[in-house]
Amino acid sequence: MRTVSACPGAACVLRGKSSGGCAAGWYIETVCPVAPGDDAEKRASVVTSFTIGGVNVAVEAADPAVWSVLRERYSGFAGAGSAGMIVEIRVCEPEEAGEFLDVPAADFRAAAPVRSRSAGGAGPADAALERRRLSRPVVRELAGGVLMRRKDFAAFLEPRVGRARLAVRPRMLAIGVDSFLRICFSFVALEVHGLLLHAAGLVRNGRAYLFFGPSGTGKTTIARVSAEQARVLSDEMILIRRIASGYHAYGTPFFGDDNLRKAESGGQPLAAAFVPVKDTRVSLVRSRRGPALAKLLSACLFFGTTREAHAALMARANDVLDVVPCYDLHFRKDPGFWSEVDALPSAEGQP
């Protein structure tokens, strides 16, 4: 992660090339360094940059509490990317952020997060459901951008321009920024010809392998038993992107407390994808295409609501399976399956 102080009002200039809004045309033109001798109090904000899935993220924030959150969570994600987005973060109560987000007041009101029901007579199961309901963000696709609101944050993302504004509640900074970035990247991934997936990504002999499937199928187990055989990109969320004739897999900083708190940001050529199946013996069977597509779609983190967004998601997932060979991997709780994986032939265009 690179952190530079920035001149007030001139932190970053993000220009879109005339490439039809394609994210590949984004670039950060200037990150204005602070002039030597500037007084700290004159600095309006700090720009912190990191890279997720090869996409530069420049965050502008005036509140030092935001800097420490960013430093703690995203410091392992330095690196140069080919595309960029700028995020302005303000620490304030989300319900008062309509003006800052610059969205029509009616749209802002319409996306108000759901309120808690009265707890009368609710049991533990009801309470858990209620917590899940409240933690779900309201996401609305408006003309030119995506409005997202939850109790702890409100944000507006312009995915084609590569710009976002985030208002996040004090004391909820880490979780608010994390949730906001996850939603952002579910949209940005499609813009950069990729997908954000609930999956484990491992690298062995310079090839990346993707393991996806419903919760409990063994993604984290595979990552844990492979400590000596492979490098873990992430055991929770992987961003994959089409690069030339193949796909590359990137680790992300999106991981939960139960997961391996370790991820790396670099992209690696994706050689194969697997749907893990816990078994008493090891075998690899080429996945049937329809079920594999359904499982891949299920693994996508996706908040789109429009027909166009869903059509783009379907097309991208289908393209992944056109390019990346996909197998049902029956495995035991040991690294023995790697000998089968190593014996796989390389697909055309893949490493």
Partner: protein, 101 residues
């Protein structure tokens, strides 16, 4: 509207789908639900691209899958209703401008 055999059936235009190896995968906006269909259901989904009437659909399934006419009718109607309940298809009276365009 209720299911009438003279109705035209068409996919809900909000859905996105692929039929791969004879198996359809359908994605719906809103709650982003994913549906997988078995081979017969997938064939019906394929046929819906042509916006057939319910009766034409029953006839095709009766012929292609060599099942009795009554069973084909019963199964197709039940399946179409299931698709409708999940907001995957729309029923439009035959002859309306949007089905003859």
């Amino acid at each position: 509207m209720t299911l009438d055999e003279n109705c035209v059936v068409r996919r809900d235009p909000r859905t996105a789908s692929r039929v791969l190896g004879g198996e359809a995968v359908i994605l719906t906006p809103g709650e982003s639900k994913i549906f997988s269909l078995n081979p017969v259901g997938s064939r019906i989904w394929e046929l819906l691209a042509g916006q057939p009437t319910v009766s034409a659909l029953i006839r095709t399934i009766h012929e292609e899958f060599e099942v009795g006419a009554d069973q084909a009718r019963r199964d197709v109607l039940e399946f179409l209703q299931a698709l409708k309940d999940r907001e995957l298809v729309e029923f439009v009276p035959a002859g309306t401008p949007e089905t003859t365009a």
